[in-house]
Symmetry: C2
Subunit: 322 residues, 2 copies
């Protein structure tokens, strides 16, 4: 089985093969070409290829679906960046900044349809199953985004609500990537469901890791400045957990998150997190969801050797960068 | 065969059956329920049902696809209203006004995915064909919208460019509605292609009629104030034709469209259109595309009696309100 970076290189080369460059009208397709060639880890298509191979399919049998899932991911980023008014992504101006909002909306719509077209290239006997997984996943991702937006306006969100939101917003896509890879590899429904669970749990662990890095990471590892979530009032695992404990510390936290955005807010909130031992709570939760992911892939019926790369992906995404 | 209003009533009742009301998260699904129940002619799903019946399918076999196409249409309206900053639609505030822009973007995305899910309910042996028609059509609609946006910034657009833009933006969806109805009815590829051509030509005739009404209609028939296209600098059949003739009249037109938006601009432009005889040019073009539509449906192999409702729809949409 290949290393992640080898899968990623194959994905990047297949993206070039989509011939988005020069396609007319250019105001529709240039932003798509720009977004799809921005680099990134290619985590989602790699997971699809990895799973398809693990169950016995070739890379080429799974590549179109892998590209469709990467296209879908980038479509959500394009529209999320408009909704969040984010100016930068992967070190470059976002599409709505480089072009304009209308272009970002319309090119995003186009990416969703292109993604569907790529998914449809699967063999006839798998078409309905793959399209149904993709369709359900898409709705879950939008629902997760809707909860995320709704929670920003709410003062308190329970840890359970937070986890369900993350399962939808981040877990559903990774789950579908693994499940669709398994289906293309000829897995049974039961095995494919295990792989889906692997992807969902991986997604939750990955998001909690991201929350943790925003407070306890370094800008170098995290790739962006520390404290962004605290300054943006984002409901993270740390915050929802901290607010849910109750008592004086939770009260102090409730007050601290209302401080004006800036260093003082970040330092004050972090000090309360420290006092409450939330860094460790976070690490424990990451370990818990990682275990669930690993148990799921083990139940899928893959050999011990075939499980290894899924364990490696999990370790890589949850900070065990051995 | 039923009257259009009977098909429309069945569509409205089937939309209620989608159970969008009360679905969670409500910030995602309430705007969809609002948009889908805004009324309107239900032209597109009616065309699908009508075509499916003409080729021998039952209404119930074609209803999911018909709803999917109506959902797609309303998705494009939602996003177009954001892009055009339109405040009102069908006498009510648009979604981005009643809620906000982010909601309109995300609920629109959701509608596209719901539309795909509805299309997928077709029988297995027609799944790939229907999904491929839907997929190609979607891209054509976005491309048409992209050309429309690009043309707004250009001083002159040829009649041919205008017609191709309209074929994509309006014709492609009506074409797919008829083609998919035919496929569900068991039509051959050749017959389905004829029905597609009927829909495309109907769409072009319908859009030119709309352009004509904006200048030569009454607010009562048109349903909105006259002169909106002239004031918004929209590239219509009248304008692209008038600018393309050349000579003094075209020059006068080029100057008149730069007048400040308002009654004077509308009156001046209309006077030049009158002088150039463009109302008649417009009526001739509508008659030409109507004939093409009628010829296409006649080539489809339907009986003379079965062709009648398609002729009636054409007459209704191009102003022959007998």
């Amino acid at each position: 089985m290949k290393r992640l970076s080898e899968y990623a290189a194959e994905v990047a080369s297949a993206i070039k093969g989509l011939d988005l460059e020069g396609r007319e009208p250019s105001r529709l397709y240039s932003p798509i070409e720009y977004a799809m060639n921005a680099g990134g880890k290619r985590l989602r298509p790699c997971l699809t290829l990895m799973t398809a191979e693990a169950f016995g399919a070739s890379i080429s049998e799974a590549m179109s679906a892998a590209l469709g899932l990467e296209m879908f991911h980038n479509f959500t980023l394009l529209h999320d960046d408009v909704m969040d008014k984010s100016d930068m992504r992967r070190g470059r101006p976002t599409v709505h900044v480089k072009w304009d909002e209308n272009t970002a909306i319309l090119s995003g719509d186009t990416m969703l349809t292109l993604a569907e077209g790529l998914m449809m290239r699967v063999a006839d006997d798998k078409l309905r199953r793959v399209m149904e997984i993709f369709n359900r996943m898409s709705l879950e991702v939008y629902e997760g985004q809707a909860y995320d937006m709704a929670y920003e306006e709410r003062e308190s969100v329970s840890v359970d609500e937070y986890i369900e939101m993350v399962r939808l917003k981040t877990g559903a896509l990774l789950g579908a990537c693994a499940e669709i890879g398994a289906v293309i590899g000829g897995a049974s429904d039961a095995s494919a469901a295990c792989m889906r669970e692997y992807g969902e749990m991986l997604g939750i662990a990955f998001q909690i890791e991201d929350d943790w890095l925003d407070t306890y990471g370094t800008a170098e590892i995290f790739g962006k400045p520390i404290g962004g979530d605290i300054n943006n009032g984002k409901k993270t695992y740390l915050l929802t957990y901290g607010l849910g404990v109750g008592g004086a510390d939770s009260e102090a936290l409730r007050t601290a998150v209302k401080l004006p955005a800036g260093d003082l807010r970040v330092r004050t909130v972090t000090r309360i997190y420290d006092k409450m031992g939330l860094s460790q709570q976070c690490r424990d939760a990451i370990a818990r969801y990682s275990s669930k992911a690993l148990e799921a892939v083990k139940r899928s019926g893959l050999s011990e050797a075939a499980v290894e790369p899924f364990k490696a992906m999990l370790d890589k995404l949850t900070g065990r960068r051995s």
